[in-house]
């Protein structure tokens, strides 16, 4: 290998070797290597296991330098893993996950896992975590979130009052009588809508099968019960669609002791795919700091 601190091995695994992942391991495993969890980085959307701007490659190698093993994997239908015909997305991911666990246990023995990744990978990690006792951590980049009671007010302020041009337009719009007629019409219409439908969860385009609020809560509770940890990072992508303040996830998940086992970061300056070098480096440092908690615990 080109890096003396680590080794990498491509693994074809699962039925007929259909899935492809790269297993990164420290060249000289630390004394507590068997106690450290293995990171599983799930492919995100249509992006293959390398991740945007090699994010997963860099993460895996940095984690290996700390003593962690990592599998970055193409889920079925992505990268070099062919799709599973006839299965829904959830069924396919569940089947993939079973094969990921099998191959890791065959190579590394009994393992505990940190599962996660970007966007749909985070959503998948949330859905997988409750059912598997091995999962003691989740690493979630732009996971789904839900509006809390102050979300709309914050979005309103951010949209209209944070710069003078927007503020001017805002004042002008309030002097327009048509605005009040539209508001009245909306109010009349709203009376006929059942209360539960007025607070629908945010629908995210191009993101199938997002987990429900109950699934998110179940995943976080499962991790807390296993004395595990969660790292969630939200970016400008989340800011535009569904998340606008650090702590919003804590409020909507409503899990006791949230801040004891969860790290919630909000980086509105970063793009969803951490496109700038400084942002990717900052993310990797944050993950390393968070992961170091497993070494010291």
């Amino acid at each position: 290998m080109s890096d003396h601190a680590l080794t990498e091995e491509p693994l074809h695994f699962g039925e007929g070797g259909r899935l492809l992942g790269i297993l990164t391991r420290p060249a000289a495993p630390p004394g507590n290597a068997r106690k450290l969890p293995v990171f599983v980085l799930l492919s995100s959307g249509l992006l293959h296991r390398v991740g945007p701007r090699r994010l997963y490659v860099h993460l895996a190698r940095e984690l290996a330098r700390m003593g962690f093993s990592t599998l970055r994997v193409d889920l079925a239908g992505v990268g070099d893993s062919p799709p599973r015909p006839g299965l829904t997305n959830n069924q396919s991911v569940t089947a993939d996950y079973g094969e990921i666990v099998s191959v890791l246990e065959s190579r590394l023995g009994r393992v505990s896992l940190v599962v996660g990744g970007l966007c749909s990978a985070a959503d998948n990690a949330i859905k997988l975590a409750p059912a598997d006792q091995r999962v003691i951590g989740m690493f979630l980049l732009d996971m789904v979130c839900f509006s809390d009671d102050r979300y709309s007010a914050r979005a309103f302020i951010a949209r209209h009052l944070t710069n003078r041009f927007a503020a001017r337009a805002f004042i002008a719009s309030y002097l327009n009588p048509a605005r009040y007629i539209r508001a009245l019409m909306r109010r009349i219409k709203a009376v006929s809508v059942p209360l539960r439908d007025r607070f629908k969860r945010v629908e995210l385009p191009l993101r199938p099968d997002i987990p429900s609020r109950e699934q998110v809560r179940a995943a976080f509770e499962a991790i807390r019960e296993r004395d595990g940890k969660v790292l969630s990072v939200f970016t400008q992508y989340a800011l535009h669609d569904y998340y606008n303040r650090r702590g919003q996830l804590a409020r909507v998940v409503g899990v006791d002791g949230y801040w004891r086992f969860c790290t919630e970061l909000f980086w509105p300056e970063a793009w969803h795919t951490f496109d700038l070098d400084a942002h990717q480096r900052r993310l990797i440092e944050a993950v390393k700091t968070w992961a170091a908690g497993y070494i010291h615990s």
């Binding site: 080109s2 990498e8 249509l46 300056e269 496109d275």
Partner: protein, 252 residues
């Protein structure tokens, strides 16, 4: 059947993915030289589909990542264009060793075309080079990548002035060395003249860009790849494009 592996010298390992021929005599090896930066992520699925299709038609196929890209070792800020050209040669040698083939065909995609066209004179087994939407020259490609980078930086709404300034210095989100930039600029259109015209074919998507060397057969696949606008949308394999590439790579 495909097999992923690392190859090359111990301190410069490259990631490769070999597709064995499913049928046929397996006399031909095709080595796919991928594009760079944004185009690399966008084309991954299409190039995999191309490799599978060629293997089904009896060819050995090797896909690989240049050092500092994809799953290969190294960092993009530390590698040079001349090392990438060496990587093409390494991949061809590796492919020949694995397959035992005596005929090599190369596919060069976008900037990968500029790298691939440096190889043929040095390889006895070389038979054909097919270029998919080759970039006209290194300097123009760098300009195009800078424009894309500027678009990318602009869509960040909450950057500090310093972050914005730093971001504008990157290429597709990567810091690259001055040496890399100089070497890229030196790759002008004459690089394509390195390949005998009888062995060179060009596959263009819409809108068709004129190829800088006269007298080269240019095949048009009537699909749009939108290289400069859809910078982060992975491209789903498009049958018209694949068929055109396959025709160029399988004709006797």
């Amino acid at each position: 059947m495909n097999e992923a592996f690392f190859f090359g010298p111990a301190d410069q390992q490259l990631f490769g993915n070999y597709h064995a021929p499913v049928a046929g005599d397996g006399q031909v090896l095709t080595v796919i030289c991928p594009p760079l930066f944004f185009d690399y992520m966008r084309t991954q699925l299409t190039l995999r589909r191309l490799a599978l299709s060629l293997a089904e038609r009896g060819q050995h196929v090797l896909r690989f990542d240049y050092r500092g890209t994809g799953d290969s070792f190294g960092e993009l800020g530390e590698v040079t264009v001349s090392e990438w050209i060496e990587d093409v040669a390494l991949a061809v040698r590796e492919g020949l060793d694995i397959s035992g083939s005596r005929k090599v065909r190369l596919v060069g995609v976008r900037a990968g075309a500029l790298l691939a066209c440096r190889l043929p004179v040095a390889v006895r087994e070389f038979q054909r080079l097919v270029l998919w939407d080759p970039v006209p020259d290194g300097a123009q490609y760098l300009q195009e990548t800078r424009r894309t980078q500027a678009t990318m930086v602009r869509r960040h709404l909450h950057l500090s002035r310093d972050e914005r300034r730093q971001g504008m210095l990157e290429y597709a989100g990567h810091p690259v060395s001055e040496r890399m930039l100089d070497e890229f600029r030196s790759l002008d259109a004459s690089a394509y003249s390195n390949v005998p015209s009888s062995k060179l074919q060009v596959v263009s998507t819409l809108p068709v860009q004129p190829f800088p060397v006269a007298g080269i057969s240019q095949h048009v696949a009537r699909v749009a790849c939108n290289w400069d606008t859809d910078i982060q949308d992975p491209m789903r394999p498009q049958s018209l494009l694949l068929e055109t590439l396959i025709v160029c790579l399988t004709m006797p």
